[in-house]
Amino acid sequence: MSAFDNSIQGLRETFRRDQVWPFLAPEQAAKIDVSNQMILYVEGLNLSFDGFKALNDLNLYVNDGELRCLIGANGAGKTTLMDVITGKSKPDAGSVYFGQTHNLLTKDEADIAQLGIGRKFQKPTVFEEQTVFDNLELSLKTDKRVLPTLFANLSPSEIDRIDEVLAIIGLKQQRFMKAGALSHGQKQWLEIGMLLVSDPRLLLIDEPVAGMTAQETERTAELLTSLAGERTVIVVEHDMEFVRSIARTVTVLHQGSVLAEGTMDQIQSNKDVIEVYLGEEAVEA
């Protein structure tokens, strides 16, 4: 076959009438397919920074509506895993699916956030120069393109939604205070509130009780357990007491891969885990 025939063949292939060009195809529906009761599929994830394997063939499956705790020593890959799920880092290999249809690796942070994956940072990050109310308004589930944002108005139902969340996170009194003036614990709560107000399907929460008083920690535990069921929550935490108080299923990460998974009791009696993680703590204590 000549080169000419080849190119003709290529053209025919391109202009086949029984298919639609990818860029013309309608946007994939935003619906999240959880018919297998599974909301997050992380498979064979590898990511290395300058030779250091931050993620090493990591596999993780999270059920829809589950409250999952991720624990692991520093450098075990917890935060890196969150970075990959939320689109901040791209892995060298592997796949991450949200529901059965949404390939998260092809999307950027904004897309992933709009799909309904909310993330709380390790260090509480709120918009300090703006009021608590504005912080929540910005986080509402709305059209977040430039022009619609310019002409956006708060609808009564959105105000109700913000009030509802303000009640949940206990910041009703502080609604018109600048977020920068809040205490550390309150900022943590506000950040969780910012996730809640956007009505997410999956919440990734990095160290929610760092720097909180015992009382605040208790309330946070209540809040997170109440969220599970309707939403899926993944919590990264160092505070073992806290993990024990909320967790149904715990996943232990070690050197970029999953070391063990199970209930808190199973984990605590797991030999490997005792050796690499709890063991160290026990020795220290």
Binding site: T86, K88, D108, E109, A110, A113, Q114, G118, R119, F121, T125, V126, F127, E128, E129, Q130, T131, D134, E137, L138, S139, K144, R145, V146, T149, L150, F151, A152, Q173, R175, F176, M177, M194, S198
Partner: protein, 377 residues
């Protein structure tokens, strides 16, 4: 208690001074214009045409400062190259004014501007066509800076260049344009730039009434731009802008494509700078590559810092005050001005991080806490 919080947070919104400021600005404009046109020259209240032009020039600078403040004060993008957009707007106006000269130039060529005749060019370069139409030139004054800002912003913000690296790039941008416009082959008059303008839309540029009209138009446009910007920045888009400034990653993770916001705000700001440049040239009577000089752009940043970044009125006040001081200082001690400017910047950065507007706020809150505490407790 909550009512009190409510009231305070309303009082904090920066928009409430905008309308009084606009009224003040327009009132001064009308009074100064009337004093120039209606009063006899020997009257004590007469405002000279020189002063009117000077005021018009200050207002153009104020508009440029406003443009820089929008992206620096509100979005945290420190542009050290905004003079480039200002100069491009100015060149568009300059080209129109150049074509208006017609055959009244030194060489008397009916179409070619003097410098082209001097360079022995035979015909008009393609980009000079259409510039004899005022509307076309004005579209260019807005379009060219806007387009450059779009391309630059799209490349820079999409690659997530931020902070000092971005500032250096903007500086390089304006410096590159400076070098390019210095070249005679570019067709913009080389280092002499464009000058010797005669009239605008048929009105003599030297006459008092034209000068006063230009001054009034500048003041009105400044007021319009101020109110429009205030409106934009108090919308939800303004809140997103502040969010990008304070915590860009957070903003991205709640679903905003921050680079798009930054690009459009950058374009908006560049267009304002272009308009300011276009108003500046007929009043000053010349545009040359010196306007692209990086030092000019840095000066703008100082005006904004002095006035108070993150407050639109602050930027305007800063530009007016510093330029007035410059006019005075350079008359008394021409060599000292740059030192004074440098000292001013250091002092403002150290002692007035929020500029003069911030100082006003500090003085006000110093008197208030005592009384507000009583009410709270």
């Amino acid at each position: 208690m909550s009512k009190l919080i409510n009231w305070f947070s309303e009082g904090r919104s920066s928009g409430k001074y905008t309308l009084p400021f606009v009224i003040l600005l327009l009132a001064v404009t009308v009074l100064a214009s009337a004093a120039n046109l209606l009063l006899p020259q020997d009257s004590a209240l007469y405002v000279s045409t020189y002063s009117i032009t000077l005021l018009g020039k200050y207002l153009c600078y104020a508009m440029l400062a406003l443009a820089v403040d929008i992206i620096w004060g509100y979005c945290g993008i420190l542009s050290l190259g905004h003079g480039a957009f200002f100069a491009l707007g100015g060149y568009a106006m300059g080209m129109y004014l150049m074509r208006q000269i017609g055959d009244r130039g030194v060489y008397g060529h009916p179409i070619l501007p003097d410098f082209m005749v001097f360079l022995d060019w035979q015909e008009l370069p393609w980009f000079w066509h259409g510039m004899d139409q005022f509307w076309f030139a004005m579209i260019m004054a807005v379009l060219v800076p806007g387009l450059l800002a779009f391309v630059f912003g799209w490349l820079a913000f999409r690659s997530r260049v931020t902070g000092v690296y971005l500032s250096i790039m903007t500086q390089a941008l304006t410096y590159a344009l400076l070098l390019a416009f210095f070249r005679n082959e570019m067709g913009f008059g080389g280092n002499n730039g464009l000058t010797d303008f005669k009239e605008i839309l048929g009105f003599d540029l030297q006459s008092d009434s034209t000068r006063v009209s230009l001054f009034i138009i500048t003041a009105v446009l400044l007021a319009v731009v101020l109110m429009l910007s205030q409106r934009i920045l108090s919308s939800r888009l303004g809140k997103v802008t502040l969010a990008v400034r304070d915590a860009e990653a957070r903003t991205r993770f709640i679903g905003y494509r921050t680079e798009r916001y930054k690009v459009w705000l950058f374009v908006y700001s560049a267009v304002i700078a272009g308009v300011a440049g276009a108003l500046y040239v007929p009043q000053v009577g010349i545009i040359n590559p010196g306007e692209f000089s990086p030092i000019n752009s840095i000066e703008v940043v100082i005006w904004v810092a002095v006035g108070g970044r993150g407050t639109l009125i602050g930027a305007i006040i800063g530009a007016l005050l510093v330029n007035y001081a410059k006019t005075r200082f350079t008359a008394i001690m021409p060599d000292g001005w740059l030192f004074a400017l440098g000292a001013l910047f250091v002092l403002v950065t150290l002692f007035l991080p929020k500029g003069l507007i911030g100082l006003y706020g500090q003085l006000k809150s110093k008197r208030q806490p005592a009384s507000s505490q009583e009410v709270t407790s």
